[in-house]
Structure formats: C-alpha cells, structure tokens
Symmetry: C2
Subunit: 468 residues, 2 copies
C-alpha cells in the first residue's frame, strides 16, 4: 500500500492546466488515495481545481474521503460546486457535512439542491445524535417482491450508480398512506443478497428467494446496539425500520467500523479521565484538550481533598507513630490498582453486553472471591516485604516488641484495601448503569480517588488496632 508522492506531479499539472492529466489522476486511483494525496499539501481552491476535471461522481467519492475540517473549508470556498456535489454524495456523508457547516453556508448550499434531496437531507437531519437514525443512509437498493431474479438484476443495474451498496437488496411492500394522507415508508418484507440473486434461476420470484428472518435496527435505538448486531451477524449492511416496520434506511459496515474505532478511543480516554476529544492527537485544539483534561483533573483534585480531612482526623491521634506514614502511599496504591482492574473489566463487559445490571449479584460474588484471592497474594508479598525490607529509620522508632504489630498492621491494611477497592470498582459501574448513566463515567482515577479515602480509614484503623 505504499503510494508514490504525488505532490510534484500534481503541482506541475496544475501549473500547466493539464486537464487530461488531472482527470486521469482522479479517475485511475482509489478516491481515498486521491484525497490523501491532496489533503495536506494543497489549498481548498487547488483541490477544487484538481478534482473539477473528474466525473461528478468521482468528485463526490474523493470529497467524501477528505478530512471533515477541510471539507468545511472547501464548501465555504465554492458553494455552487458544493451544491452539485451534494446530489451525488452518500446520503449519510452529506448530512454529516451539512451539520458541520456554519448555518448561512449550509443554507446557501441547500438552495442549490433539488427538492427530493432537500427532503431526504431534512429527514436524516432530524434524528437524535447517538441514535441509529443519525448513522444511517437512505440510498439503499430495493425491489418489489413480485420481480423475478432476472428482472431484479436489471433493476439493480439501473439503481447501482446511486446506491451505497447493492450487495444487500431490500424487498419492500407496496406504498401505503398514513391516516393523514401522507406516504408512509414502505414496509420491509425481506432481504436478498446479490449473491443469492445471481445464483437463483432467472424466473424465480424475489418473494420466494428472500430471507424473511430479519435482524433489524430501530431508528431511535442507541448507536451502541449497531456494533453488537454487526459483530454477531457479519453483515455488510443492516436495515433500519420505524414502528410499523417501514424501511427508513440502512447502516453499512464501513460506518460501523468507524464507530467501533471511535468508541474504543472514547472509552480509553474516559477510562483515563479525559473528556471527549475530537480530532487527532496533534490536530485537536489545545484549549479543547485542556478543558477536557482540566475538568477531570480539577474534579478529582477536589474529591481527593477529602483525604486531607480524613488524614488530619487520624493524625492528631497518631502523632507518636507518625513514622508509620511512610507506608501510606503503598497501601493506598493497592486500592486504586485493584479498583481500576475491576472497574475496567465490568465496564467493558457491560459495553459488550456480556453482563447486564441484573447480574450484579453474580458480579459481586465473583469480585469478592477474586478480591479475596488477590488480597491473599498481596498479603504474602506484604509480609515478606515488611519482614525483610523495613527501612532502618522506621525500625529505630518502633517501640520494642512491636515488629510483628507493624507487619500485621501493614498486611491487613493492604488486604483490606485491596478487597474494598476491587469490590467498589466492580459495583460502582453497575450502580451508575442502573441509574441509566454511562458506566464508563467511573473512570480509573475516579475509582482510585474514592478508594484512597476509604484506604486511609482502613489503614489508620489497623494501625490503631495493632499499636494502641
């Protein structure tokens, strides 16, 4: 997949106004390659100049692969061309673009689009963000149930140039009207793959060939459902229906892959206490990144202040064993680490629908056992550690005969904190989810902060137990 560097060649063709060369460049390469060759080296005007030599459909394909920010700039620079291009773009991609354009630019571009397209755009615009509706496209291929296989292939030949995919063809009922007289979306009867159409006898009826056991999505479902459906059924596309099983659009595999990648990035960032970030690491606006990081750092800082008051509460009691404070960071870290592990496993299992909130008792039992087994392991490490490696300065201050008291205080603290951290880490995401919130809000640093406060209480209570 290594591509030569096209920049010098394109610059030369632009200078010489070499129309044939530029057309050849646009038409012979994959549109993603053309977009990539153009997007970092040329101005919006130059990009328009290059692609204008290609067929309008090719222009639209190339344009779809240009990064969103540059698409917006290009649209602002050349509204008439943009209007033309819109009619040939994928129906989902053009709505994504219009959503990003400043209001007046979007309006002036929309004025250049014919009525059918305007209606289609308005419909797709209307679906709530994060719903399946906002992800779908309306340029699907369809057939009536009464066609024969041969007729179906002929019809697809006519539809192919304008459709997102013709590999899955949706079989629709006759048009019907709603009670208010408007046309309702045609009801989805079945689906047939192009593969099955090609394999079928010429005179077989679509009605007999089609698959009627349909896995569908609803337009108002959460986007997350899409990834699970595609992962299970290996679809190239899935139909989106309304309450009466009317076909509204389709979601295609490439958009699902993008969704899964984007969600994985968001989950990883949320887990580390970073708010949503748009754009790549180096492109993202400095202040936007600052805000999404500063918000969490600040919130965690304020929460963590709790540790000061809790420690201050014990500190006055424990002044004469102040040298034991050197063990505080170690003991606290155990809770944060065990809690992060548990929280991550539970959050991911919820996202992949491996567990549901009603499984909380199962999760609780499993985490309790797991935490106990982990605590046992750490307990052994802690005994070894305290026995062999306690610093001289601490031993010097230890009252005579208190060596094992120290050992037990540390070891029981470590074990207790591990247990609490893991159980809190596992249960909090489930609790948040059962309140209808996103369990991923329980980020790793958040769990660590909570478990620090608890950890201090546990630590000082064991110190009191073994030293007073």
């Amino acid at each position: 997949m290594s591509h030569p560097l096209f920049t010098p060649e394109i610059t030369l063709m632009l200078a010489e106004a070499n129309a044939a060369g530029l057309r050849e460049f646009c038409e012979s390469l994959h549109p993603a390659t053309v977009a990539e060759a153009l997007d970092s080296e040329f101005t919006p005007e130059q990009i328009w100049e290059v692609i204008s030599h290609a067929n309008i459909r090719t222009q639209a394909s190339i344009f779809e692969y240009i990064p969103p920010a540059l698409q917006v700039e290009m649209a602002e620079k050349a509204r008439p061309q943009m209007g033309q291009l819109l009619t040939k773009m994928s129906h989902d991609d053009r709505v994504d673009l219009l959503k990003r354009l400043p209001g007046r630019v979007a309006e002036s571009v929309m004025r250049l689009v014919d009525e059918a397209d305007r209606k289609d755009i308005a419909t797709l615009f209307s679906y709530g963000e994060n719903t399946v509706g906002a992800m779908m496209t309306t340029d699907y291929a369809w057939l009536p149930a009464t066609a024969t296989a041969a007729e179906a292939i002929d019809q697809l030949r006519a539809q192919a140039p304008d459709k997102e995919t013709i590999y899955y063809v949706y079989v629709l009922d006759d048009a019907s009207r709603r009670s208010d007289g408007s046309l309702a979306p045609r009801r989805l009867l079945g689906v047939i793959s192009l593969r099955d159409l090609i394999l079928a006898p010429r005179h077989a009826l679509v009605r007999e060939l089609m698959e009627t056991d349909l896995a569908t999505l609803r337009y108002d479902q959460d986007k997350d459902a899409v990834a699970q459906l595609f992962a299970r059924y290996d679809f190239i596309a899935a139909p989106v229906v309304d309450d009466s099983f009317g076909l509204l659009g389709i979601v295609t595999h490439d958009d699902v892959l993008d969704l899964v990648q984007r969600e994985a990035t968001a989950d990883l960032q949320r887990q580390a206490g970073v708010g949503p970030i748009t754009g790549t690491y180096l492109d993202a606006s400095f202040w936007m990144v600052w805000k999404s990081r500063a918000f969490w750092l600040g919130a965690l800082f304020v929460l963590q202040m709790g540790t000061i008051n809790v420690m201050a509460h014990f500190e006055s009691d424990l002044e004469r064993v102040a040298y034991l404070m050197v063990f505080v960071p170690l003991c606290l870290s155990v809770g944060g680490n065990a809690g992060s592990q548990a929280a991550t496993l539970v959050i991911r299992a919820l996202a992949l629908e491996e567990i549901r909130t009603r499984d909380w008792l199962l999760v609780f039992r499993r985490e309790l056992l797991m935490a106990a087994a982990l605590a046992a392991g750490l307990g052994v490490l802690s005994i070894v550690r305290t026995y062999f490696f306690t610093p001289e300065s601490v031993l010097a201050k230890l009252p005579p005969g208190f060596f094992w008291n120290l050992n037990w205080a540390i070891t029981f603290s470590v074990m207790g904190i591990c247990l609490c951290g893991a159980v809190i880490g596992a249960m909090l995401p489930l609790a948040i989810k059962s309140f209808g919130q996103d369990p991923a809000l329980m980020s790793t640093p958040f769990i660590a902060t909570l478990s620090d406060v608890l950890g201090i209480i546990i630590f000082f209570n064991f110190v009191k137990l073994f030293f007073f």
Copy 2:
C-alpha cells in the same frame, strides 16, 4: 432483532424426531440465530442431532457461529461429522477450530479431509500468530484477465457457493512455476467488484474493467495494519500477497470488526493493568483472571515499595513537620491522574498511527505546554483550597507566620507533580515504542506508581524549601 425463545419447540421436535421441523428450523433462520438458540440450552450431542437435518453447507454456517469452546466439545464428540463439515467451512474458521482442538482430535479429524483441503489447512496453519496471514482466508473468488463481463458472471455463479465473498473478485495472472519447479501463487493483477461487473457491457474485458491501483496487505505484516487499511478504504475485503505479489488469500470486513473489538478490549484491560484475558467476563476461568490481575498488582506493589524508602529518607529530616504528611495523598494523586491522561492519549494516537516515535519532540513540546496550563489551573485550585479549607488541627501545629509557606509548599508541589506526571506519561510510551515494545505496557497504574515516587521527592523538597 428480538427472537422468540426456541428451546421448548426444539426440545419437542427432538423428542418426536421431527426431521422436517428441525430442517425447517435450521434452514429458514439466519445461522447466527440458530447457533444462538442452540448454544446455551443443548448438549453437543443434541446440537449435532438438530443440525444434522440441514444441508451440509447450512450445518457449516451454523457451526461457524457456535462459541469456540462449544465447537471444540462438538468436534470431540463426533469426529466423522466434523471431518465432513470441515470441507464446507470457511477456510479461516476451520483453521481457527483446528488450532483449538487437542492434538489427537485434530489429527483424527484431519484424516477425513481430502488432500487439497489438507494442504490449504497446513498453509494457513503455518502463518505466525498476530500476522495478517493468520487472519486471512483462502476461499476467495478469482478470474483470469481475459474473461468478458458476461463470462465473469457465469464463472462467479459457479464459484459462489464455496467462496467467502464474491463481491470483490481478484484478477490473477497465469500460473507460473518457481525455480524449484513448484507452482507459485498466481500474481495479482487487479480487482473488480461485482457491482462493476454487473454495470459493465457484456463483452467488456475484465482486463479493462479491473482496478489496478491496489491496496494490499503482506502475509507477514502485523495484524494492526489491517484495521487502519479497512478504516481508510471502507473495504469489504482486502487481498494478501507474498513478496512477488502472488495472491495468498483475503481478509474480510467481519474479521476486521472482530479484531477491532477484541483489540479495544485488550487495550482497555492493559491500560488498567490487567493481563490478556480470553473469554467473556463471566465465562473466563477464575484462576486465569486471577493470574493476569495478580501479576500486575504484585508487580506494581513491589515497584510502589520504592515510596517507602523515599519517604523514610525524608521522614527523619521532617519529623517536626509530620503534620504536613496529611497532604501527601492529595499531591501524589495529581501526578497519577495527569500522567494517565497523557499516557492514554499518546498510546491511542500511536495505535491509530496519528503520531510516530519520530514525532517525540512535537509530543514533548505539546505535553509540556499542556502540563503547564493544567498545572496553572490546579495551582489556583490549590491556593483556594489551602487558604480556605486547611483543617484546624494542621493550622494549630503550624509555626506562627508560616501560613503562606504552607500554601506555597502545597501549591508548588501540586504544580510540579502535575508537570512531571504528564511529561512522563507522554514520553514513556514513546520510549517503549522506540525500543520495539508495545507502548500499551505503560499502563495507567504503572505511570501512577512511577509518578508517586517522583511526587514524594518533589513534595518533600518544596516542604524543605518553605519550612527550613
């Protein structure tokens, strides 16, 4: 996508040995639905009994959707059926299955497979784990360049039943021999989509229709390259070639989606310091999960012991300001949180190829500025905090006139620790990557542990500066 519960119906049909009903059940539903209806409620023997009534191809499709552990059990129970099924399974899925079977079972099943299939299996078996070769399948559709569009469609009709996909067809050169006389894989000349074939005039030559600007994968590339390629080009499948551009196989979109989901899970778990886990949250073996969590908890615990020695080193100096210890957990937490944020952003940007190790200076500058801006924000919070909310017990012990010394010691510590944490968090993954290791090894808890040790040094030095 809600499916009725099939269990009672299937149980009844099994009891009545209702062959027609069971065949209908297997043939009329999506194989994923059939597999799902069977996999949790029936024994391996019963599942064989149910699917045996279907066409052998349908059996293979259903079997491919059964969870791996159950596939293994089924294969062990009925080796002759398994041998038959293998010949009809996707070439990649059957190799995945054979890799999971105990040696003697795999051998006895393989003996039932004909020689061509055995060779194909052996070849796919030979590719290194985590390479593109191990992900690909060899059942691709292909054509010679000399066919016409009409001939091509006829040939595809013959190939369709045995191919993973016929939507992308690979155009191959004539067979050639290697210097040792063996047949080399046919050279890849181009690719043509079924859509383009259907749109083309009947007599157009494949040679003229095919796309020759090919994005290919090499069999020995790392799997990670696949996700980026599919995300960029929206492929349904991509060809895998050897050094002489001979076609070895294809990778399909559904396997890429699975890969991306699995990798996202692994990344999230690694980020929280959990070793690789196979299986779902509730299915995974308790001791396997224990091992992968205990390893990291233990390793971090040992590392974190460093904090004891560092603190003990300062503690003896600072005995008379022991009450300042109450600020230690707060100050340390800042470093861990800022470090996790930076590490996560950099690790994800590396995974998505948004940055490379040679960009380290760019990343360093950006993180330094960002850390400074974040530290400034936290500094303000810290001043407000210390000014208004310092506990009475601490104020009581503070030497007269030292209130602002306290404020500055805490605030400068917080800012210094934030700066160090973020810069370490951003730089360590790049350093690890430049040594050829996986940057995701720099998990959040690992960064937090490192920054704790540094944080203690920073904190006590500022205390010394402002109190002595």
